[in-house]
């Protein structure tokens, strides 16, 4: 992934956010990570002119946010003409089949369940890191 791709992480749990960042860094991903713990703040940022004008970015999204559901953000991003090209990775504790289906229907690119077991969790995030390191993000 080119160095200019910004990672936008929407995650209300600061512990999770830190663990995710740690493990992404362990996979040698050095891209900027912008963290939001509220849906509102994240939407404000994503739809600001600066971001819309200066892509490219990748969104890491948790589904259970205090002020809205992650699927609301996903829906808004994927129905926006410019932002919809940004890859969205859902990273959440839920492994409910309906929820997973719904996210893919709404256009998410990858859905990852956070394993409770930390080795598995760290492994999953590091694999995501490896994946990110080889993927191409489109210009927005």
């Amino acid at each position: 992934m080119s160095h200019s791709v910004k990672i936008v992480m929407v995650e209300d749990d600061h512990g999770h956010a830190k663990l995710i960042e740690k493990n992404i860094r362990r996979a040698n991903i050095a891209n900027d990570i912008v963290h939001f713990d509220h849906g509102d703040a994240a939407l404000d940022y994503l739809f600001s002119d600066e971001v819309r004008a200066h892509g490219p970015l990748l969104i890491l999204l948790d589904l259970n946010l205090p002020d809205m559901s992650g699927t609301d953000i996903l829906e808004k991003v994927k129905s926006d003409e410019r932002l919809r090209r940004a890859p969205v990775v859902i990273l959440t504790t839920t492994d409910d089949k309906i929820e997973i289906q719904r996210c893919y229907d709404l256009g998410c690119n990858v859905y990852i369940t956070k394993p409770v077991d930390y080795e598995a969790f760290a492994g999953a995030i590091q694999q995501l890191g490896l994946f990110l390191s080889v993927m191409q993000a489109p210009e927005i």
Binding site: G15, T93, V116, Y118
Partner: protein
């Protein structure tokens, strides 16, 4: 004897229960009694009238006969007088004809009067007077015939004959008067009796009309009551249907809420677990780094190392981490269990006809290895078929058979029997009977609760199986009962409707 007692009891019950039919029957019985009374009265009246007619006839004949006697006597006298005045034989003929008829007429009168106490003395007197008068008349006729007319006239002049005649007339008139009085009396009686009969008939007719009126009124009232009860029933039924619909909707909503709750709870409980496990691992890493640092330090400056620090880093920290790990792992399993239950509750049911003998046999076969290991057996008898959700049924029987094998009594080979039949109320009843360790009575309810287990805790498990089974049985519209004694074995009773009816939105397709 028994039948009589039964009849008496039935009658007693009939008397004690004031129902419409009882009232109607009582009214009809009364009406029939009245009719019978009227009949009897009429019959008596007819009898009386006929008797009256007979007596009237009798009286008339008595009167007629007594008049005949009088007139014949008068004829005889007339003939006698004519003969005495004229001495012509034709007057004697008149006299003789009358005299010839008289004994028969008198005998008739005597016969008619018979033993009548009032009239018998009079007729006896008439007979005596008649004989004297006849003798007197014969004597005067003989005197006239032999030319001793003067003697005959003086005989008549003596007035003896007239006195006899007058006495006889008095007696006969008295007889006539008695009969006339009797006739009047009987007519009066008859009139009174017929008046009584008419009034009895009228009264009875009136009463019957009233009874009929009451019956009609009762029936009308009863019909009205039935009608209003029917309308009330219709109204209630309609209300009930609405109520059932509302309640069902409420229940569905409540169920959905619970599922949602279980889902959210399990999800939200999971999020902190990720942190606990994650940072525990991070701490472990930190511990390893410290350990490494300590080892290096111990090589260079062993005198600076506190033995407590070594123990803390090498024993206390790994021990604490181990406990945290084990507990969080257990918590994760419990949360997964709740999730599984919640998910099973949301799965759409697909009823199909299940050949239960084959279904249960295949579950039994999958346990074959574990069962024969200890010389045990699973016997599957002929089971009635069931129209239900295959997956749920397989899970229910799988769990129960699995439990039976798992919790067997170690000192005897396990023997499990599965049998069943159709019940009278149109349900299917299956039994799973084992000779395992059993469940003590105080745990019969507890073992069905989530995360609760009973007896010796020597088998792995989360206390989830039976909670899950009961949940599934209920979803299929069935009930589940346990019959068990500790150390003896258990029987699980499963009762299902023969056909599972799934309403429109009974679950998600998970």
């Amino acid at each position: 004897m028994k039948r009589i007692r039964l009849a008496l009891r039935t009658f007693g019950g009939f008397l004690r229960t004031p129902t419409l039919s009882r009232s109607i029957i009582a009214l009809l019985a009364l009406a029939i009694l009245l009719l019978l009374a009227v009949n009897a009265a009429t019959f008596v009246m007819i009898q009386r009238t006929s008797a009256y007619n007979d007596t009237v006839d009798h009286s008339q004949q008595v009167r007629l006969a007594s008049k005949d006697v009088l007139s014949l006597l008068a004829d005889a006298e007339t003939g006698q007088r004519g003969f005495m005045l004229t001495a012509r034989a034709e007057y004697l003929g008149v006299h003789r004809r009358a005299v010839a008829q008289l004994p028969a007429v008198l005998a008739r009168l005597d016969g008619l009067i018979g033993d009548d106490k009032e009239l018998k003395p009079r007729i006896a007197r008439v007979q005596t007077l008649y004989r004297q008068r006849m003798a007197l008349m014969d004597h005067t006729i003989d005197l006239t015939r032999t030319g001793r007319i003067g003697e005959a006239v003086s005989q008549i002049r003596s007035g003896h004959g007239k006195a006899l005649m007058d006495a006889m007339r008095i007696e006969l008139t008295a007889i006539d008067a008695v009969e006339a009085r009797r006739l009047a009396e009987r007519t009066r009686q008859s009139e009174r009796a017929s008046a009584v009969t008419v009034s009895v008939n009228a009264l009875a007719a009136l009463l019957i009309l009233i009874l009929a009126g009451i019956s009609v009124w009762l029936v009308r009232r009863y019909v009205d009551e039935i009608e209003s009860a029917r309308m009330e029933l219709d109204r209630l039924n309609a209300g009930l249907e609405n109520q059932v619909r509302d309640r069902t909707a409420e229940l569905t909503r409540a169920n959905e809420e619970i599922q949602r709750f279980a889902y959210i709870v399990s999800h939200d409980l999971r999020a902190p677990l990720v942190n606990i496990m994650g940072y525990t691992s991070e701490l472990e890493q930190v511990g390893k780094i410290f350990d490494h640092q300590l080892t290096t330090l111990a090589e260079r400056h062993p005198e600076d190392i506190e033995p407590e620090a070594i123990r803390a880093v090498r024993e206390d920290v790994p021990e604490a981490v181990g406990f945290i790990r084990a507990s969080t792992a257990k918590m994760d399993r419990l949360i997964n269990a709740i999730l599984k239950l919640s998910r099973e509750g949301r799965r759409a049911l697909a009823p199909e006809v299940l050949p239960m003998t084959a279904v249960v046999q295949s579950i039994a076969d999958s346990l074959h290895h574990q069962v024969v290991e200890n010389g045990g057996e699973i016997v599957v008898r002929d089971l009635p078929t069931l129209e239900s959700d295959r997956l749920s049924i397989e899970q229910i029987f799988g769990n129960l058979l699995d439990n039976a094998v798992k919790y067997q009594q170690p000192d005897r080979p396990i023997r499990i029997v599965v049998d069943g039949e159709l019940t009278d109320d149109g349900r299917v009843h299956y039994r799973i009977t084992d000779n395992g360790r059993g469940v003590s009575a105080r745990d019969h309810e507890r073992i069905f609760e989530l995360f609760r287990r009973a007896g010796k805790q020597d088998q792995p498990g989360e206390g989830l199986g039976l909670a899950f089974v009961r949940n599934s049985v209920r979803r299929l519209g069935g009930v589940m009962e346990l019959e068990s004694a500790l150390g003896q074995g258990s029987t699980f009773h499963l009762k299902f409707p023969t056909r599972l009816i799934v309403s429109g939105d009974a679950g998600d397709r998970l």
